[in-house]
């Protein structure tokens, strides 16, 4: 089946799968957003326990999606994997440390004799929540603004800055840094928006619901500001285009705007996504009695569409998706970074399992979330975080 497909189609297919995993990851970052709210949306120990428990039933999905995202990129675009991870060493290390400390925090937080103390594990959760969202968002922005590296003819990567990727968020002499950070902050506030919607969906507790409702609005505003700043900027900046014949990379004015207009399906998907994100928020905020439970799904699916669309305009339509601003020809495209055709075909068969995986995830999600969390359950259930 896949063997008959053109190499280029397979490369596009795999880029789309990775983009989809990235989009799902951004949606699932609601867990991280929620972790940053445990001291504001909850006021008492019991309320905090309820928040942590409702998040604790989902944190592994986010974690697993991140791992799968890494594995899928490794398998399908190994040059991206080696360049980004080996190059932006400190960015990835900080992100990874944030996930390392998260993984133990749910299980260990409320256990007696836990060595570091409950507060430390809660701070780990907050650290993870801030770092994962801001850094991952900032890293994705570099798909549009580029990084400083070059690749030699043996495909070895040489990163320009000794700060190993941190310069992309800290070098304020470059305007691109503001664009990068704006996406990082947009993802941070979006994750908090989604977390509030998730709380409204899964927790049956009046005070929590009231605070989540208020927090929804307080985070939606900065999200919109940062997201619009990012969006307007990337539509206006010069983008990293690839000449389809010579494969030469060059700067094209308004490249990403062109990509949106030249790929109408992506444009529709992207706009639909943005509208759904907003709709989920607005309906949950203004018609809370009827719509607060559904917000997570409307805004969540909207997030997936929006991020999926964004990642497609970064890599499709002859665009370098991991560009180098210091050496244009070292920029990474879906053509020069992919695995061989054979591997992409073999992996494509594996990708047929994804719908089954999604199906059992949905089934298990519903089984665990079929009843809202309430105070009584926190006292009855033998396994709580």
């Amino acid at each position: 089946m896949f063997e008959t497909l053109d190499y280029s189609i397979l490369q596009h297919y795999w880029y789309a799968i990775n983009a989809l995993l990235g989009a799902l990851l951004v949606f699932l970052l609601f867990v991280q957003g929620g972790q940053t709210l445990i001291y504001t949306v909850a006021k008492s120990e019991l309320e905090k326990k309820m928040l942590i428990n409702t998040l604790g039933r989902k944190w592994e999905f986010t974690f697993t999606t991140l791992v799968t995202f890494g594995g899928a990129f490794f398998a399908s675009f190994p040059l991206f994997y080696s360049t980004s991870f080996g190059g932006a060493y400190w960015v990835w290390m900080i992100i990874l440390f944030a996930f390392i400390v998260q993984a133990v925090s749910y299980q260990y937080r409320s256990k007696p004799n836990n060595f570091l103390g409950q507060k430390t594990y809660e701070l780990f959760l907050i650290f993870n929540g801030v770092i994962a969202t801001v850094f991952l968002g900032t890293a994705v922005a570099t798909f549009f603004t580029g990084s400083g590296f070059h690749i030699d003819d043996m495909n070895r990567t040489f990163w320009d800055s000794p700060f190993r990727g941190l310069e992309l968020a800290l070098d304020f002499t470059r305007y691109a840094t503001f664009i990068n950070l704006s996406l990082g902050l947009a993802v941070f506030f979006l994750s908090r928006v989604l977390a509030n919607l998730y709380f409204l969906n899964t927790i049956d507790h009046l005070e929590i619901n009231q605070r989540a409702h208020k927090s929804l609005f307080n985070n939606a505003i900065p999200f919109l500001v940062f997201f619009l700043f990012f969006l307007v900027n990337i539509l206006l900046i010069d983008g990293f285009a690839v000449n389809p014949d010579t494969k030469e990379v060059f700067m094209e004015p308004n490249k990403y705007l062109h990509n949106l207009l030249q790929m109408p399906i992506v444009l529709i998907l992207f706009l639909l996504g943005v509208v759904m994100v907003l709709m989920g928020i607005l309906r949950a905020y203004f018609v809370p009695k009827k719509c607060s439970s559904k917000g997570i799904w409307i805004s969540g699916i909207g997030t997936v569409f929006t991020v999926f669309g964004l990642l497609l305009i970064a890599g499709y339509n002859n665009t370098a998706y991991y560009p180098s601003y210091s050496d244009l020809q070292s920029s990474i495209t879906i053509f020069n970074s992919s695995s061989s055709k054979y591997t992409l075909v073999a992996m494509s068969y594996v990708s047929l399992m994804v719908p089954f995986v999604l199906a059992y995830i949905v089934y298990a999600w519903r089984a665990v979330n079929n009843k809202k969390i309430d105070a009584a359950e926190m006292n009855e259930e033998s396994h709580t975080y």
Binding site: E60, F61, F74, Y81, S82, F85, W90, Q107, N155, S340
Partner: protein, 519 residues
């Protein structure tokens, strides 16, 4: 040897070793105890006896504590290939990345989805569905191990690929050859079976403590019966797969095999050193130097292990380094020369591509399509990075002692399970306090044996990251060594703190015991 930043290489290796050894403290228990849990819950499902539910839930709590830190230490390993071994990642991503991606899609999601039901579903889903979730968690975690070990097996015995001179990397040509690579199959089975032993030791050891304290007698006895039978079955299986593994290593990694036995000079009727203390290694100047201070040998056994024939020849370290004409073994010097021919041909090909010289391109390219040339020259590509053949010998004492510690402990574990079961059958185990103390103190030995296995696998194949193709020193990322030194110590500090937390929490939960529901 060419100019490499040795500080960077050493610290990158140290960091990978540190993170992998830490991760492996938690994985074997997960692999094994999930099946033990599934068996216990199955008995509960069949009998409806609440005692079995209590037993299942107690071990499940300990599993959850272990699982969390296993996940925490595991995430870094996948990404470390990119962050610290980016030249490796690019060179083999076409093959090595696939199993990692499949692991994520097939196994990791299964594990993490059903684990949530296992922990939180007791009062939310039916008994049957909960049991299914427990089994699927066990299967998911073991499937996860399958794909990781397929990836590792490929590094030990690279198969199913072809070198593409245009991209200058190895590309996969046969997925099933990679999947059913004998090194991978043996490694997978040997690793999971030995992990089941560790889990059984864990359950028997902690249950023995309850018997020593005269607490939760029924709980402890039942746990011991399940775990000791489980452990005994897989002790036998581990011996079989270990034997297969050794044979496989003797073929694909003869240097590792010779190092495992401290065999410097090859011989027919090679004896197996059952127990030995190494002395100074023989050197080039003094090749006949005595290599063992003391040893107990089983005559001909090593030859039998390698070739199933007592009179067969097993090459020693020096046969491999200096060659052995009678046995048709090429010396490392010759392999270095052949590797250089392959590497120079690739460089010339790259230059020809740049110069657009069609005739030269075709003639050089034909080498890479010629099977004989590839086998005669390209297969030694990695040797071209060495100038001294003695740099291609692994650390013999570490490999030798790790191997012998693993094997001796493996035998001891089997004996322990038999003795424990013997007294269980006579129903006198609770009174055998000496045996209960032994069972308790065997727990750290289980971890020692398991870690030793990985030390043989990874130290024994040095200096290769991919056997014969890519030396470890060429695989590192181009980072300044200070960054790696800092991250090494950060990992050391964070993982150690988390390990202490894990042990303290676990000890507390054990003290609380099964009646409290684990909290």
């Amino acid at each position: 040897m060419e100019n490499f930043d040795l500080t960077l290489i050493d610290w990158s290796r140290a960091q990978f070793a540190l993170t992998a050894l830490y991760h492996w403290l938690f994985v074997p228990l997960t692999l094994g105890i999930t099946f033990i849990l599934a068996i216990m819950e199955t008995i509960y499902y069949k009998t409806g006896d609440p005692e079995w539910k209590k037993i299942t839930k107690f071990w499940m709590t300990l599993f959850g504590i272990n699982f969390a830190i296993g996940v925490a230490t595991g995430i870094i390993l996948e990404f470390e290939f990119g962050t610290n071994w980016s030249n490796y990642s690019w060179f083999v991503g076409d093959i090595f990345g696939a199993p990692l991606a499949i692991e994520g899609i097939m196994a990791f999601f299964m594990e993490s989805t059903f684990i949530a039901i296992m922990f939180f579903g007791w009062n939310k889903v039916s008994k049957g569905f909960h049991l299914t979730a427990t089994w699927l968690t066990a299967i998911g975690s073991n499937l996860s191990a399958l794909w990781i070990l397929v990836a590792n097996g490929w590094m030990q015995n690279p198969v199913g690929m072809q070198f593409n001179p245009d991209t200058a990397r190895n590309e996969m040509v046969d997925f099933f050859e990679v999947l059913f690579n004998p090194a991978a199959v043996n490694k997978f089975l040997h690793t999971i079976f030995s992990s089941y032993i560790l889990a059984a030791i864990f359950v028997v050891g902690i249950s023995a403590w309850f018997l020593l304290k005269k607490k939760e007698i029924l709980f402890a006895k039942r746990s011991i019966v399940v775990a000791a039978i489980f452990g005994l079955i897989f002790s036998v299986m581990t011996i079989f797969t270990g034997d297969e593994s050794a044979r496989e290593i003797s073929k694909s990694q003869p240097m590792k095999f010779a190092s495992m036995e401290g065999l410097y000079h090859g011989t027919t009727n090679a004896p197996l050193v059952a127990f030995g203390i190494l002395k100074d290694a023989p050197t080039i100047e003094n090749p006949e130097k005595k290599d063992f201070a003391f040893k107990v040998e089983i005559p001909g056994m090593l030859s039998y292990m390698a070739n199933l024939k007592f009179d067969s020849f097993v090459p020693g370290i020096y046969d491999l380094v200096h060659g052995n004409v009678d046995q048709g073994i090429i010396s490392y010097s010759e392999k270095i020369n052949r590797g250089l021919v392959a590497r120079n041909t690739l460089s010339e090909y790259k230059l020809a591509l740049k110069g657009n010289d069609a005739v030269l391109i075709d003639s050089l390219r034909s080498n890479f399509e010629n099977k004989e040339w590839m086998e005669g020259y390209f297969n030694y590509f990695g040797y071209s990075y060495f100038s001294n053949p003695h740099d291609i010998i692994p650390n013999v004492p570490i490999t030798f002692y790790s191997f012998h510690i693993m094997v001796i402990l493996g035998g001891y574990f089997m004996a322990l399970f038999i003795i424990v079961l013997f007294f269980v059958m006579k129903d006198t185990l609770a009174g055998k306090r000496w045996l209960l103390w032994i069972a308790l103190w065997t727990m750290p030995l289980g971890y020692l044996a398991s870690e030793s296995g990985w030390i043989i696998a990874e130290m024994g194949r040095q200096p290769w990251v991919i056997q014969d193709l890519m030396p470890t020193m060429t695989a590192v990322s181009n980072i300044d060594s200070n960054s790696v030194i800092i991250t090494f110590w950060l990992f050391f500090a964070v993982f150690t703190a988390l390990l202490i937390a894990e042990i303290k929490i676990m000890l507390k939960q054990i003290k609380i015991g099964p009646n409290e529901g684990g909290h």
